[in-house]
């Protein structure tokens, strides 16, 4: 399935400035793996040491947070958009 991954500005230093990346994948997980194979230095910013999507990175399939779609194993279809959005938290000392 041909899908597009939208990349926020802060990530683009790892994607040679690419704001959108099109690829073929059947699930969100596969799409992220294709993306990070293409841009290996992005990999550690997308997944933690345990291979989980980082806690402060929200991933959306079209309008929906993938956590409401069963997680990254959710299937994608032709023309879908995957959005990567850093979570905005204030933090505390």
């Amino acid at each position: 399935m041909a899908i597009t991954i939208e990349i926020p500005t802060a990530f683009r230093k790892f994607t040679d400035g690419t704001p959108k990346y099109s690829c073929s994948a059947t699930t969100v997980a596969e799409a992220l793996n294709v993306l990070t194979s293409q841009f290996p230095s992005l990999g550690k910013h997308v997944r933690d040491d345990q291979g989980q999507i980082r806690q402060f990175l929200n991933v959306y399939l079209n309008e929906e947070d993938i956590r409401f779609l069963g997680g990254e194993s959710c299937e994608v279809k032709d023309g879908d958009r995957v959005l990567l959005v850093p979570s905005i938290a204030g933090g505390a000392n």
């Binding site: 926020p8 402060f56 956590r67 409401f68 905005i88 204030g90 933090g91 505390a92 000392n93």
Partner: protein, 417 residues
């Protein structure tokens, strides 16, 4: 560092100076404002604080504002009410309500965070400021922007309470209604901050914004006679406030302004949107986001940005989190109003109702000092309780009519008895 504060990554610790950014560009984790406390100890004096007007700016050395900063308004300085009648009703001794329902100028604690965010917006040269909001924040941004000459553009879920929309529109702010819930609005704002050079107070100014919440905590300690309470019950939406009250208390201990003591932090949510309390109660490593369904719309954030930090703070303090149903929220709004004469919004109902539940469960002790944080005004959420108060029968302007009404009401009361 040339200033006593700067941004630091919450996870990797990298320092970023002062800039309008909310996440670390190395590891993409959230940023916070970190202080050089050794330097602060030299410049911050308790006697200077207490000599100033009672509003949030009296603590300005402990806030991320420039040294030359002149307070532009009188935000904060709200009452800490000794809630004797409510305490009696709930079966405890020392209960206080920190009443930000009367915070200046827009009647919620969000005035505090907007105050520090706009100080940062001024410093970074933004002319247009904005926010994603469940209502109270939009009110605060609109009001203070009008006063300080910023152009305001606020983004809200389309189905917000009419009063909250009106309370933003009246200040001349541009309002963008989004078909979606707060989490959709928040995501859009993250993308807007990425694209436009705007100061979005809870997006790219968020570390500075969040620091304003500390003043709620400083005031509690000062109003208790520079003592910390045993327990604090805090409403949770994004989860930031509870962590910032904790930070405020730690800072006061560090400065030697209060005696160190354990304080338990209790988080309050509506069951219809309770990702943080659910995470605490089920001891989850990460909270699970929810689709909000509650009358407490100011707390209806299903994917709370500071949720993980709130959970950590609650657990680390030995506190707990609880949630209550919508009917319980309405009852608690009425309870607070009828016992203390304080009309809080739905979030206040959540906090008071959860306090009741915590007391009944024995998690909050009868002889301990407990502060309940009321963060918004009931005049903004009258829709939530309007059906509880149908119009009463109107009578003629004659004494006999009044006497007849009294008689009929007496008869009805004795029939019930």
């Amino acid at each position: 560092m040339s200033e006593v504060y700067q941004l630091r990554c919450r996870e990797c610790g990298k320092l970023w100076g002062n800039a309008p950014k909310s996440f670390c560009e190395e590891c993409f984790s959230p940023l916070e404002v970190a202080y050089d406390y050794d330097a602060l100890k030299k410049i911050a004096r308790k006697e200077n604080v207490t000599s100033r007007t009672f509003n949030m700016w009296r603590y300005s050395e402990l806030l991320p504002v420039p040294e030359s900063f002149a307070a532009p308004n009188s935000v904060g300085g709200t009452p800490l009410v000794s809630a004797r009648h409510l305490a009696k009703k709930l079966g405890v001794q020392n209960l206080y309500v920190k009443n930000d329902a009367v915070c200046f100028p827009s009647l919620s604690f969000k005035d505090r965070v907007v105050a520090t965010a706009l100080a940062a917006a001024r410093r970074f040269g933004f002319q247009t400021v904005g926010c994603s909001s469940t209502g109270n924040l939009a009110n605060a941004v609109a009001a203070q922007s009008a006063q300080q000459g910023f152009d305001a553009c606020v983004f809200i879920p389309a189905d917000l309470e009419p009063a909250k929309i009106l309370n933003t529109a009246v200040y001349g702010a541009r309002i963008i209604r989004i078909n979606g819930n707060y989490d959709h609005v928040n995501r859009l704002c993250a993308q807007i901050a990425d694209r436009f050079q705007w100061g979005l107070v809870n997006v790219n100014l968020r570390p500075y914004y969040a620091e304003g919440s500390k003043t709620h905590g400083y005031e509690i300690a000062e109003q208790l006679g520079w003592e910390l309470p045993d327990n604090v019950v805090v409403p949770m939406a994004g989860g930031s406030l509870i962590t910032k009250i904790a930070k405020a208390f730690r800072e006061l201990v560090l400065l030697g302004w209060v005696r160190e003591k354990p304080v338990k932090f209790f988080g309050a949510q509506a069951t219809g949107c309770s990702p943080i309390s659910d995470g605490v109660k089920r001891n989850l490593a990460r909270f699970e986001p929810q689709k909000p369904q509650t009358i407490a719309r100011s707390l209806a954030i299903g994917n709370p940005a500071d949720g993980s930090y709130a959970m950590k703070e609650i657990r680390g303090s030995g506190g707990w989190a609880e949630d209550i149903s919508d009917p319980e929220i309405v009852e608690a709004i009425q309870l607070l109003a009828e016992t203390e004469g304080i009309f809080g919004e739905t979030a206040a109902g959540v906090t008071v109702g959860v306090t009741k539940k915590l007391i009944e469960a024995g998690r909050v002790g009868a002889n301990e000092t407990t502060v309940v944080c009321v963060t918004g005004n009931g005049l903004k959420t009258t829709d939530a309780i309007a059906t509880e108060y149908p119009l009463t029968e109107a009578i003629a302007p004659r004494l006999e009519a009044f006497e007849a009404l009294l008689d009929s009401q007496l008869a009805a009361t004795s029939a019930k008895a």
